[in-house]
């Protein structure tokens, strides 16, 4: 299997996964969404809140704020050496104390660990009127997206099969398909229709070009055909900022690998016992 990036930034990546199966591509996608751990606020201690929002709504909103995560520094609370009581290696503590009139933003959450800050400082949490006040302590912990969506590390994360467009010799370059294509993948060449430079990956495989070709009266079979390649996949992975995309991808593969390795170990034990 091979990965080639067409774009790799801090929080977005676009790449093709070659020589893979649809099952593996989907497992990779599901692991990135649901099993890569991040920090998110889980416990909220409210000392005072006379804002317009109920305590429950306020704490729910706090939970959804993305937090920068250093996976080497935090462990899950259930796997921590403190035994789940909560310590500095399984919890990141924030305090928030704001008096109105103003808007409370995610940047008002003051972290105890300077590395575990909120990704963005300007996410609105609640609007305070005159004499309104919010004082609370929030505790973030590590968990994964299959537990609750607030722990998802990715925003947009998906794939599509690589499009394979074949243009037969009997294409008369009438241009009907070029006009019909909603993503401008095609252009008119010298003898026949051609794929526009660098546009192939934009194809959504809607097959409007095939329909247009048939409508032009070419015969029983369209001169252009679009098929998905079941061994190549175009991925788009977007991070919420808590982890760089590269880390999300490597830890997703690491998680799959760990599962496979531990399965091998367990099976070795079993066949040793028989």
């Amino acid at each position: 299997m091979e990965i080639s990036f067409s774009r790799l930034d801090e929080d977005i990546a676009r790449f093709t996964l070659k020589d893979a199966t649809p099952a593996f591509a989907n497992t990779f996608r599901r692991t990135m969404i649901g099993e890569v751990p991040t920090l998110a606020i889980e416990d909220v201690m409210i000392y005072d809140n006379n804002s317009a929002l109920f305590d429950e709504i306020l704490s729910h909103r706090l939970g959804l704020i993305p937090i920068k995560t250093d996976l080497s520094e935090y462990v899950r609370r259930s796997e921590c050496s403190c035994g789940g009581e909560g310590c500095s290696s399984c919890q990141a503590i924030f305090t928030l104390s704001v008096e109105g009139p103003c808007m409370v933003h995610s940047g008002d959450l003051i972290p105890a660990d300077p590395k575990a800050t909120t990704v963005s400082t300007d996410i609105p949490v609640v609007k305070l009127g005159k004499d309104q006040k919010v004082v609370l302590e929030a505790r973030a912990e590590l968990n994964d997206g299959s537990e609750h969506a607030k722990w998802q590390s990715t925003l947009a994360c998906g794939y599509k099969a690589y499009p394979v467009i074949t243009i037969d010799d009997n294409c008369d370059a009438c241009g009907n398909c070029v006009e019909e294509c909603p993503r401008n993948v095609l252009k008119i060449g010298k003898k026949s229709v051609e794929i526009a430079d660098g546009k192939l990956e934009d194809c959504s495989m809607c097959r409007l070009c095939e329909k247009a070709c048939m409508a032009s009266g070419i015969g029983d079979k369209p001169a252009i055909s679009v098929k998905p390649d079941t061994e190549r996949f175009i991925f788009v992975v977007e991070s919420d900022g808590s982890l760089p995309v590269k880390d999300i991808m490597t830890s997703a593969f690491g998680i799959i690998k760990n599962k496979a390795d531990s399965l091998v170990d367990v099976l070795n034990e079993i066949s040793g016992a028989i």
Partner: protein
């Protein structure tokens, strides 16, 4: 018992039989927030 506060005269009020401020007779009372810390799950 949670405390209440009269909406008009801002006096502290206890409710026994009637929902009514004993000082000014106003019938709108606000429930005061308890002193304790409220522990919630952010879900």
């Amino acid at each position: 018992m949670a405390g209440y506060k009269c909406a008009r005269c801002k006096q502290k009020v206890e409710i026994d039989l009637n929902v009514r401020c004993p000082y000014c007779g106003h019938r709108i009372l606000f429930k005061e927030r308890g002193a304790g810390i409220k522990h919630l799950k952010a879900r």
